[in-house]
Subunit: 276 residues, 2 copies
């Protein structure tokens, strides 16, 4: 029997597992941090949900929502749990982005963070919960030069200038954004870097995936959908090319609708074509 194989110490698997000492290696805490993105009211830009920290470290700074992973759940489940706690939303797009492991990224102790990206079709009212002092949607502008996170109501401006740095991975050249804080406020921990990675990935993928459809309601107009692409890519697209590009992904519902974008006349209403 396979189970009766003995290792170099003469132990069967059962005996080995019984004697296994998990304390041999030092262990990090593991958290998930989530970028929760949605479009703003008139589809002119992206919004991101931030939490104001109520305790050290970074007390008073704004941070990505997140929390510790429990032993009986996957990181994905932990992220989903956190997402529901903060927004009340379930069954929405959620994808793992990158795992951040730089030593010292949390001054408390050894913490690694698995970053997730969530895309929601409508903004939900948010309020501060249990341990968080506050929660709010911020206008997010992410271009080649800057990251701006603004909330007028709370009078918070978090601004980073971006420089590009090239490095090589094998023979492949990569461009990295190096953030440089120019505002008084800043994001807690290494959350700017998480934001940068997630946005880079979203930008690369939106063209070949269908992530844009997660940022509009289930019935939408083409100007609205185009606004999503333009907000993510931070550049204007040609209307006709855009419509050609997505034409086989959508179908008309038959109705008309006034776009939530700045609107001159009524628009045809579309839905996402599932079979495509």
């Amino acid at each position: 029997m396979m189970k009766e194989v003995r290792n170099k110490d003469g132990l069967t698997e059962e005996e080995f597992l019984k004697a296994y000492n998990p304390g041999d290696y030092k262990r990090p805490s593991v958290t998930t941090d989530i970028l929760i993105l949605g479009m703003n009211e008139d589809y002119s830009g992206l919004k991101i949900l931030l939490i104001k920290r109520a305790d050290h470290p970074y007390l008073g700074s704004w941070a990505l929502p997140g929390g510790f992973i429990e032993e009986d759940e996957t990181a994905h489940q932990a992220a989903n749990r956190e997402l529901k706690e903060e927004t009340g939303l379930e069954d929405i797009y959620l994808d793992q982005v990158y795992t951040f492991t730089k030593p010292g990224r949390d001054p408390r102790t050894w913490v690694i963070s698995i970053a997730y990206l969530a895309l929601i079709p409508e903004l939900k009212k948010v309020e501060g919960l249990d341990d968080a002092a506050d929660a709010a949607w911020f206008d997010l502008k992410f271009t080649d030069d800057t990251i701006e996170l603004l909330n007028e109501e709370k009078d918070v401006q978090i601004i980073y200038e971006l420089k590009k740095e090239t490095f090589y991975n094998g023979v492949i050249k990569y461009e990295n954004y190096i953030p440089d804080k120019v505002s008084e406020d800043s994001l807690a921990f290494d959350h700017v870097e998480i934001l940068i990675e997630a946005m880079k990935k979203l930008r690369e993928q939106i063209r070949y995936s269908n992530q844009a459809f997660c940022l509009v309601e289930d019935k939408f107009t083409l100007p609205e959908l185009q606004a999503v692409y333009e907000a993510v890519l931070a550049r204007p697209l040609y209307k006709k090319s855009f419509r050609d590009m997505i034409s086989n992904l959508v179908e008309e519902t038959g109705s008309e609708k006034t776009s939530r974008t700045k609107s001159g006349r009524k628009c045809k209403e579309y839905r996402f074509k599932m079979e495509g």
Copy 2:
């Protein structure tokens, strides 16, 4: 001063960090597992480096190389260290793929694994090291229907049949491969799933990234380069279309060379054009 801000317990940041008890949350062990891929001798397919386990659990099974992350290093550094130990290679393509967190994926204790993909331009002789019983290159065939890992010399065949399963993430439809073991041998832990994720990602990216250039030597022929794409995508490409596609990424060295692929006549030699 920012540093003098006190939290709800009246502590400054310095006092808080001093009093912080890292034992409040249970912590997982964290490892890196690496897919180390290279082309075989005649560029007819991919090879993958596997390690034979010398201890429980999965004693005698083959597994991806990997190891625990230390507190003073990033996961990337840990993966690089492991890669060098196994192959002697440095400065090669290495990229984080996905972090695996399913409870129970390691029978010993709570272990999460950060998976990496390494692409090497030439196969290196490998031998079993310290704790590993053995190490060997396996022929890797990854198609829509099957995963085959073969090593004739050691008479090992690890074969999985693949079924496709669709699921939804938000409104986006995804296709997942579900592996079903049909050979006696199998990969340890959840390493088939890691293999599947890494290969899926490589396939999606190879078209728009330059990862193929990490799998050929610095001077190569176009038949060799095409063989890399075909091995990764597991389907033939049209010669002319392929050459048009990569024409602005390469430049002639001026020399000629006999391809390591099955060869009828000499080929022009190319190099990767860095500026393009």
